[in-house]
């Protein structure tokens, strides 16, 4: 069984890919979140209380309407997507008019793309919507105002098509928009353009809801702007900082629809492979009488493995420890050691290496 977190598009693709690869997905969504229905995927609305265990056999404790259930899963995929931030602008937002494809407007339409944290696909979505409006109302004038036109890869052809249809693109930074009048200074040339738009469409700032909640449950870290921190490049493409937990979806990286599809399928594949190959890392052990409870290990471990137990001594959680040995080195009382790895072994290793060098 593979635990898939999130209610958006990425989790759909990931779930479908997991089924295709012969495993059973369990999709988890927070109670207050909306999610798209998938026929043969068991979707559960609940709160993840704890996620213990190692890759290949995790135990997830989920509270589903006040009743705690335990699930045994092989791997987890966090496929949470960004959602538009509810903002109180009076203009129409891009996401709200996506479904309405018979928009009637004959005047001038301005699409403003200058949100602080936009989604990566907002520009191509805006261009495609502009073409569609232009087709439905041939005599309307459409301006798209944005500092940069970000239509990546093959979307560039849509951008050319839009220009051929007479949609005007203005690269502008400062846009004064007050009571129906708009003053736009074209940043390259500095010329000022006055527009009286009949309809203003803006793109929204994206945010990741409940990122901290998921990060705490899975004990993985976040970036400051609230996105999930990816594993370093040396850990592989869709990994997080914890073995067996994989990241895809726009909550970790900015993705176009096609990229989102690839990343979700890759994460699903890695998860299915990971659940079949359990990982047995020997975790560090703390010798309780030697421990001076000085919290050094708790502070230096970036994987949140050590913690001070009720006896006031340090204890290292077997599931989170990735046996990197940093705490073994830094513990002032040398209370932490591995099965078979301690200060003396390290010292002897140095001696042997140098002895055979001198032969």
């Amino acid at each position: 069984m593979i635990l898939i977190v999130g209610g958006g598009k990425s989790s759909e693709i990931a779930a479908e890919e997991v089924i295709r690869q012969g495993a059973v997905p369990l999709r988890l969504v927070l109670p207050e979140e909306t999610f798209s229905f998938l026929p043969d995927v068991e979707t559960v609305k609940g709160r993840l209380l704890s996620f213990t265990g190692v890759q290949g056999n995790f135990q997830a404790e989920i509270e589903i309407d006040r009743e705690v259930k335990k699930f045994n899963v092989g791997a987890a995929v966090i496929a949470v997507d960004e959602t538009p931030k509810v903002s109180d602008t009076d203009c129409i937002t891009l996401s709200s008019i996506l479904e309405n494809n018979y928009l009637k407007c004959s005047g001038t339409i301005v699409i403003l793309l200058d949100a602080k944290k936009p989604s990566r696909a907002s520009h191509i979505v805006a261009v495609e919507k502009a073409i569609e409006i232009k087709d439905n109302n041939p005599d309307c004038r459409i301006y798209i105002i944005t500092p940069e036109v970000r239509t990546f890869g093959l979307d560039e052809l849509e951008y050319c098509k839009a220009q051929k249809k007479g949609i005007i693109f203005i690269r502008a930074e400062d846009i004064k928009h007050s009571s129906g009048k708009m003053k736009v200074t074209d940043s390259p040339s500095g010329k000022v353009l006055d527009i009286t738009p009949d309809l203003v469409i803006t793109d929204e700032e994206q945010e990741v809801k409940n990122a901290a909640l998921w990060a705490k449950a899975f004990s993985i870290n976040l970036y400051e702007d609230g996105h999930f921190r990816l594993g370093n490049v040396s850990r592989g493409p869709v990994t997080s900082m914890r073995n067996g937990v994989f990241l895809c979806g726009t909550a970790s990286r900015a993705l176009l629809p096609r990229e989102m599809d690839t990343s979700a399928r890759a994460a699903a594949t890695r998860a299915v492979t990971a659940s079949q190959t359990p990982l047995m890392l020997n975790s560090a052990e703390v010798d309780e009488e030697k421990c001076a409870s000085c919290m050094t290990c708790v502070r230096v471990c970036l994987f949140h493995a050590p913690s001070i137990n009720e006896k006031g001594k340090s204890e290292i959680c077997r599931d989170l420890c990735q046996s990197c040995g940093l705490c073994v080195n830094l513990c002032p009382a040398s209370a932490i050691s591995f099965k078979g790895v301690s200060r003396i072994e390290l010292r002897n290793a140095v001696d042997d290496v140098l002895r055979c060098l001198h032969e």
């Binding site: 890919e17 690869q21 940069e148 036109v149 096609r258």
Partner: protein, 333 residues
């Protein structure tokens, strides 16, 4: 007899092979080049000095793991000239220096990648006539060798120009699409060069700043640094003088010609050659530019041959294709 035949040993192909070997599925990787690795083979690490997540090292790690895996057989310097059969039983005919041979495989992953645009085809930048006009790949090999010098004089360069969108967003040269990766790649390469030569003056000619991750204002920020100039314009041409002169129109519509020690052309990604023939023989389709379309069972495509993308996305696509192939093979039993 192998379970999966992977055509092309680049980042995507090897990632697929590695993922399959993790699932104990045997695969054969056929690469036309003498050395396995494809486009991402000789990329230098862009740390300045902190890792810029350019992903150049992940193909290297994957290649090393693949070499150790017993499930993968590597066949280099041999081309797949023809393929036949259907899902579950394909035969690939290989042509190598020792003649033609046949290989039976149950499933195929096409990962032939896509070559970079040959800068000589765009005569305006005089790539073939002037030694100091380099493509980003030439600069890359110079970085790997460790000494950056002006090709014609051998001295260390004082000024560098980077021209974006060479061979992409350019209908005349058959590449009207945007190659998506050169923006991110050029900025990281320039930062790495400036770590090596802190005093170098860099001018960045770009049309639209299209970053990879959420680095929307990174170029503007970098433009504020001393010695970095960011110009939104597409240079008209390069004039050969004692030093190459870049002729371009500035934002205030005034034409200028600035001399640079080195001019770097950020070359885009071209569609894979004769992909139509290989596609039809495997029952796959290509779009109007020659990029593979991912559809159907048995034969899958991954990497740059399905469209320009960066290393991370190619590796992800390779893993996804491997997953699909493995699922397909399980379906066969």
């Amino acid at each position: 007899m192998y379970e999966v035949g992977i055509i092309g040993g680049g980042a995507a192909g090897l990632a697929a092979a590695l993922e399959l070997s993790r699932r104990r599925v045997s695969s054969v990787v056929i690469d036309s080049d003498k050395h396995i690795g494809g486009l991402s083979r000789d990329l230098c690490c862009k740390a300045n000095p902190v890792c810029q997540r350019c992903d150049a090292c992940s193909p290297v790690d994957i290649r090393r793991e693949v070499r150790k895996s017993p499930f993968v057989t590597l066949i280099s310097s041999s081309d797949v000239i023809d393929a036949s059969g259907g899902p579950g039983a394909y035969t690939l005919s290989l042509q190598s220096s020792s003649g033609i041979s046949e290989i039976e495989v149950k499933s195929v992953i096409v990962a032939i990648g896509s070559p970079t645009f040959d800068a000589a085809r765009d005569a305006r930048y005089r790539y073939s006539d002037c030694a100091d006009v380099l493509t980003s790949r030439d600069l890359e090999t110079m970085m790997i060798s460790g000494n950056i010098s002006v090709p014609s004089t051998g001295k260390t360069p004082q000024s560098l120009a980077v021209i974006q969108c060479v061979g992409s967003r350019d209908a005349k040269h058959g590449a009207p699409y945007c190659s998506k990766v050169c923006c991110k790649y050029s900025l990281k390469l320039v930062k790495r060069v400036r770590k090596e030569l802190p005093e170098i003056e860099v001018t960045f000619f770009y049309r639209d700043w299209r970053p990879s991750d959420r680095e929307y204002d990174k170029l503007a920020e970098y433009g504020k640094e001393k010695g970095v100039h960011v110009v939104r314009s597409r240079p008209a041409e390069v004039i050969i003088g004692s030093r190459p002169l870049v002729r371009y129109a500035t934002v205030e519509d005034e034409v200028r010609e600035d001399p640079f020690d080195i001019v770097v052309l950020a070359v885009g990604l071209q569609p894979p050659q004769n992909s139509q023939k290989l596609a039809s023989s495997l029952g796959m389709e290509c779009n109007q530019y020659g990029f593979f379309i991912k559809k159907g069972e048995g034969a899958y495509a991954a990497g740059c041959c399905t469209g320009p993308k960066d290393i991370r996305e190619s590796v992800e696509e390779g893993i996804a294709a491997a997953g699909k192939a493995a699922a397909f093979l399980e379906g066969l039993q």
